[in-house]
C-alpha cells in the first residue's frame, strides 16, 4: 500500500464524504470498510473515482485523474482519454492539489482564485 501525503489523505477524506451523498453509495462504502474488508485507502480511491467521474461528467470508458499511476501514464487506446486525464493531473499537481481531488475543476478554479488574490 502506498504511503499517502497529507494533501492526498485530505482529498480522499473529502471523496468519501462526497460519495456518501450519492444514492446507494453510503451503504456500499460501509460494506467495503466492514464486511468487504477493503482498506480505507482502497475504499477512498474508489470514492475518488466515483466523484471525479461524476463531476467531470466522464464517459464510462474514460479515465479520471485518480486512476493514473502518474502524469506520464498515458499509454492505451484513445477512447480511455488517458492523455487528457494526465494533462488535468499535471494541472492539479502544479497547483499543489491532490490527484484525488473530488471535484478537480472546482478545486483548480479555487486555487487559481486564491493565487490571484495573493
Amino acid at each position: 500500500m502506498t504511503k499517502l501525503s497529507d494533501v492526498d489523505r485530505d482529498a480522499l477524506k473529502r471523496c468519501i464524504e462526497m460519495a456518501r451523498t450519492y444514492p446507494g453509495r453510503s451503504e456500499q462504502i460501509d460494506w467495503k470498510l466492514n464486511e468487504g474488508r477493503c482498506s480505507w485507502q482502497d475504499t477512498a480511491k474508489f470514492c475518488a473515482y466515483l466523484c471525479q467521474s461524476k463531476n467531470l461528467r466522464l464517459e464510462i470508458m474514460e479515465f479520471p485523474p485518480a486512476w493514473l499511476i502518474d502524469a506520464d501514464d498515458v499509454e492505451g487506446p484513445a477512447f480511455k482519454g488517458k492523455p487528457q486525464a494526465a494533462k488535468l493531473l499535471r494541472r492539479l499537481l502544479a497547483a499543489g492539489l491532490s490527484q484525488y481531488e473530488p471535484d478537480p475543476i472546482r478545486a483548480l478554479a479555487a486555487a487559481e482564485k486564491l493565487q490571484a488574490a495573493e
Binding site: 461528467r57 466522464l58 506520464d72 498515458v74 499509454e75 492523455p83 494526465a86 494533462k87 493531473l89 499535471r90
Partner: protein, 131 residues
C-alpha cells in the same frame, strides 16, 4: 526507452459538435462553447456556423455594453450598441432555435441533451488556441 511526455500523446476526443472558429472574441468564444455544449450534438450543422458566430459576437457585445451602461460617465454610443446587439440576438436566437419559444411547439417531450465529458469540452476549448 524514455517515457513520452503526456502532452505529446494528447489526441483529440472525437466530437461531432461544432468547434469555435478562430478569431472569435473571448466573450463570444465562451458563449459559443456554452451554447454548443448545452444543445444536443446534432442541433447544429456546419452550415449554421456563420449565424451562430454572429449570435455569439452579438451576445458578447451586449454583455460588454451592459457593463459600460452601468457606469456614470457612459458614452451614448453604448446604448445604441446594446440595442442593436440585442435586436440581432433576438432575431438569430429564433433562427438558431435557441430560445424557449422556438423549441416549444415542435417537440415538447424532447429528451434533455446528453451531458458532455470534461475531456471533450477541454478539447473544444483548446481547439481555437491550437490553430
Amino acid at each position: 526507452m524514455p517515457r513520452r511526455a503526456a502532452d505529446s500523446l494528447v489526441v483529440p476526443i472525437p466530437t461531432t459538435r461544432l468547434h469555435p472558429p478562430p478569431g472569435l472574441s473571448e466573450g463570444a468564444k465562451a458563449e459559443f462553447i456554452r451554447i454548443v455544449t448545452c444543445e444536443r450534438p446534432e442541433h447544429f450543422k456546419p452550415s449554421d456556423l456563420p449565424l451562430l458566430t454572429q449570435y455569439c459576437e452579438s451576445s458578447a457585445l451586449a454583455a460588454r455594453a451592459t457593463l459600460e451602461l452601468q457606469r456614470d460617465d457612459c458614452a451614448p454610443r453604448w446604448l445604441q450598441l446594446w440595442e442593436k446587439a440585442n435586436r440581432n440576438m433576438v432575431a438569430l436566437a429564433a433562427r438558431l432555435r435557441l430560445c424557449p419559444q422556438s423549441r416549444q411547439p415542435n417537440n415538447p417531450r424532447a429528451a434533455r441533451p446528453a451531458s458532455m465529458s470534461y475531456y471533450e469540452r477541454a478539447e473544444l476549448e483548446a481547439h481555437d488556441e491550437a490553430e
